[in-house]
């Protein structure tokens, strides 16, 4: 049985004005123990002003949106409900590390199968009810059980039992050890709502513990929130009011920002970035994200079952050219590793695969293959610019003696009929918070979305052994090996990692943004402020 120390009291970050870094996360025991620090304080660079209103133009709100946390699927609900109205047990800091939120600390025991969360004292729901372990228990149970359609189903499936221990402890018993369990509690569906008499949670009332209280909710149109004066994080939030407006059309969204109807907009078209940057009143804020765009080869299907073909194709694509011409420089070069550099346990996977048609040709020749011809299935919906990227790839590969036939697929139904089905296709991955979750959904032999048909027992064994490993140094080593294996032998060609791209008026103040979830890990409303308030 491993037992980690509970770190309590003020985290050094608060007192010296420095945030915990990922490096510290990797080597220190604090990875498993909770922290008391409040990120809003540790990140403030100059003193934020109080007051004013934030108006945020979203791109994906839907009339399907509801207050039910199991149904949340849009950035609009994630930002307004998960990030503003509610809190989770834990919070993702901007640097990708984990801090306590409604829980002030936690410990994992018995091979990471038993997790005890100690709740913060004095936290109140918007209607004055105090937070209790029963609220936490019911909020998790809401996603579990027979016939659950929750977006967090994959996470809560590993919970065998939830017990209350006294008036401030909740104990989770897992079916198998998982050292990432606290991380998974940051999933945006797992917001804590008040429990209802006789079981279940009361999500219909729109009552949370968050920095803002719900004023009005018109699904797919607008969500309005008002400052919670009794918020449990001292000094937060800064805004008096928050209004989240749905503006699906990109041009209309940009117009709304330019005419001062909103202060921040989601997802600026790369073709408009230069125009926004020329405007003195506006700025573009880029935040590295987990999202990556790939061309995926199915390792179980010929000719991709031949490692030489996979290797040659990885060297026959000029990523720099694609990034410059298709993404106008708004992307970071990928290196055939699905892990993003902002994730815990990310490891460099040398060498950086670079465009080398001669080397690709040599590899194929050595394997006895003279002319290789492949069919690449793409559609614009696969990822923005996928078709253009494929056309460039075809030109690049031709120099290596590889023929890439572009198969233009229909946009509608791409994810049902092409993705996971055609042996070489383009894919848009939003990523996962932890490597374990990323690998288990897409790269282990039994992963439901194994788009690369990667079935390697050695890789599966690495992922399994890392899962319950509480020794962070050992874990880092295992994950580095797994990432290197995907880089060397896997079927994914990671073209690029893209950033969240917000445009906002220069009146909005903020520190470094978190990029694991959009909109500053959904918590922009409590982290940002108005300079002109």
């Amino acid at each position: 049985m491993e037992r980690q120390n509970i770190e309590s009291g003020e985290h050094p970050a608060t007192s010296i004005g420095m945030a915990p870094t990922r490096r510290r996360f990797l080597v220190g025991a604090s990875a498993v123990a909770g922290m008391v620090a409040f990120p809003g304080l540790s990140w403030a660079q100059d003193k934020p002003k109080q007051g004013g209103k934030l108006r945020y133009g979203m791109n994906d709100g839907s009339q399907q949106d509801t207050l039910d946390p199991a149904s949340w699927a849009t950035v609009m609900t994630g930002f307004a409900f998960n990030g503003s109205l509610c809190n989770n047990l834990v919070e993702l800091l901007p640097d990708g590390s984990l801090a306590g939120d409604l829980a002030e600390s936690w410990t994992g025991e018995e091979g990471a199968t038993r997790w005890t969360f100690i709740l913060r004292k004095g936290v109140k729901f918007h209607d004055g009810r105090p937070l209790t372990p029963e609220d936490v228990r019911q909020s998790l149970l809401h996603h579990m059980g027979e016939g659950s359609t929750s977006g967090a189903l994959a996470i809560v499936k590993q919970i065998k039992q939830i017990d209350k221990d006294g008036d401030n402890k909740v104990v989770f018993i897992l079916t198998e050890g998982n050292a990432d369990f606290p991380y998974l509690m940051s999933d945006y569906h797992l917001s804590i709502f008040p429990a209802r008499e006789g079981g279940g949670i009361d999500w219909q009332g729109g009552i949370g513990t968050g920095a803002f209280k719900l004023e009005s909710f018109e699904p797919g149109i607008a969500i309005r929130l008002k400052r919670n004066p009794d918020y449990h994080k001292p000094g937060l939030p800064h805004f008096d009011e928050v209004e989240v407006v749905n503006i699906p059309d990109g041009t209309a969204r940009l117009n709304a920002l330019m005419t001062g109807e909103v202060d921040v907009i989601e997802d600026v078209d790369i073709r408009n970035v230069a125009m926004v940057e020329r405007n003195d009143r506006l700025k573009i804020v880029r935040t590295p994200s987990l999202r990556h765009l790939t061309f995926d080869m199915n390792c179980s299907v010929a000719p991709y079952d031949n490692p030489a073909v996979r290797k040659a194709l990885k060297l026959a694509i000029d990523r720099d050219d694609i990034i410059a011409k298709v993404f106008l420089g708004e992307a970071k070069k990928g290196n055939d590793n699905p892990a993003a550099s902002i994730m815990p346990f990310y490891a460099e996977t040398p060498p950086q695969h670079a465009y080398d048609p001669d080397a690709a040709k040599a590899i194929l020749k050595e394997a006895g293959l003279d002319n290789v011809s492949v069919d690449l299935s793409v559609a614009e919906t696969a990822f923005p610019g996928a078709v253009d990227a494929a056309v460039l790839f075809k030109e690049h590969a031709a120099k290596a003696g590889i023929t890439v036939n572009i198969v233009q697929e229909a946009d509608d139904g791409y994810w049902d009929n092409v993705w996971l089905k055609k042996p070489f296709n383009a894919s848009d991955w939003y990523g996962r918070v932890t490597l374990d979750w990323l690998f288990a959904t897409s790269y282990t032999s039994d992963a439901p979305w194994n788009n690369t048909g990667f079935k390697k027992p050695a890789f599966d064994a690495l992922v399994k052994s890392a899962r319950a490993e509480m020794d962070q140094a050992k874990r880092a080593k295992i994950y580095a090996e797994a990432q290197q294996m995907l880089h060397d032998e896997g079927g994914l060609i990671t073209v690029a990692f893209v950033s969240w791209r917000l445009a906002m008026t220069t009146n909005i103040g903020h520190a470094t943004l978190g990029g694991i979830l959009p909109a500053d890990n959904h918590r922009g409303a409590e982290r940002w402020w108005r300079m002109d308030a």
Binding site: S62, Q63, Q64, D65, T66, D68, S71, A73, G147, S148, T149, S150, G151, A152, L153, A154, S216, E218, P219, G220, I221, A222, V245, N246, I247, P248, D249, T251, A252, N255, A256, M258, T259, E261, V262, D412, G413, W415, D416, N417, Y430, T441, P448, W449
Partner: protein, 321 residues
């Protein structure tokens, strides 16, 4: 003349009957078409959480695992009693569409209240001064505005009045609790755009209808009797042109209900067109069906009214022998 053979009543009865049949066919076509589209509500909503197990669980929960015609019959049974059912998100369809329908009707009514009298007046003026500068100017400019796609008109209007001159807000997003004055102020740009789009059609048709009547011998007779030209156009020609004018007005009013989705998107106006697009994207069949029925009913209803007007305005149809 007996009431049972009254032309308006019998026409209205047969039109309403045919209209209901049309609605039935429309609902069947839409329902089956959506069912044959790839993708489902479950995979659309679950997005990157759509593991096969989660999709299956949601389809069972929503009854999507049953064949589409069984689902259609169940939907039809409820709809026949006026119950539009629940959206897949769990809210009643009418609660979801209701406020948006109200917004659409408000926008359509205000636009129609301005557009219909204005376009008929302009059409009369054009007919009266046929071939003169005013007629040529109006004919050319309306032809131009009818030829330009509506989204382009919308963006030009927005660029000039909202971005450059900053006279009006670029977002028409009206919301609950906003004063009437501010609501109207926010709606100026979409109304202006819609006016530019529908005026042309109605002006040109009014002009053409009056001019075709003006070629009749009785107009020549009126002129020979010495009636002033203005009186000839308004008192002699116009009443006989009401039928065709009513049908083009009906067509444009129906467009204002069902065709303004592009305007809604550009000006972020929360109308029922956006609701339908959203529903199609998510394959939310009950909402799609309700929107389709509203749109189809608008066309059928306005055309029925136009037919009644043309019968009333035509004594030969009103009192058949």
């Amino acid at each position: 003349m007996t009431t049972k053979s009254h032309p308006i009543l019998s026409m209205a009865a047969s039109r309403i009957g045919l209209g209901l049949l049309s609605l039935l066919i429309v609902s069947l076509i839409i329902f089956s078409a959506v069912s044959f589209l790839p993708g489902s509500y479950a995979s659309a909503i679950l997005g990157q959480n759509a593991t096969p197990a989660a999709v299956a669980a949601m389809e069972v929960k929503l009854g999507l695992n049953r064949p589409w015609f069984l689902r259609y019959l169940a939907w039809l049974g409820a709809a026949a009693t006026g119950d539009m059912g629940l959206s897949f998100s769990g809210r009643p369809v009418m609660a979801l569409i209701g406020p948006r329908l109200k917004n659409t009707l408000v926008l359509a009514s205000i636009t129609a209240a301005i557009a219909v009298p204005l376009s008929i007046a302009l059409g009369i003026v054009c007919a009266r001064y046929r071939g003169r500068f005013l007629d040529k100017f109006l004919s050319t400019s309306t032809l131009a505005s009818i030829s330009i796609p509506e989204f382009f008109v919308a963006y030009v209007v927005m660029m000039v009045l909202a971005v450059k001159l900053q006279l009006f807000p670029s977002m028409a997003g009206i919301r609950n609790g906003m004063g009437l004055g501010e609501q109207l102020y926010r709606m100026v740009l979409p109304i202006l755009t819609l006016l530019l789009v529908i005026l042309a059609h109605m002006v040109r048709n009014t002009r053409a209808a009056i001019l075709s009547v003006m070629a009749s011998p009785y107009i020549e007779m009126a002129r020979l009797k010495g009636e002033p030209e203005k009186r000839v156009v308004v008192r002699q020609a116009l009443p006989n042109a009401i039928g065709p004018i009513a049908s083009v007005v009906a067509l444009n009013l129906a467009y204002l209900i069902s065709g303004v989705v592009v305007i809604e998107v550009v000006f972020v106006y929360p109308g029922v067109g956006q609701a339908m697009i959203d529903a199609v994207r998510n394959r939310d069949v009950p909402v799609i069906q309700a929107c389709a029925l509203i749109f189809a009913a608008a066309y059928i209803g306005f055309n029925l009214i136009a037919d009644i007007i043309s019968i009333v305005s035509n004594p030969r149809l009103l009192h058949p022998r």
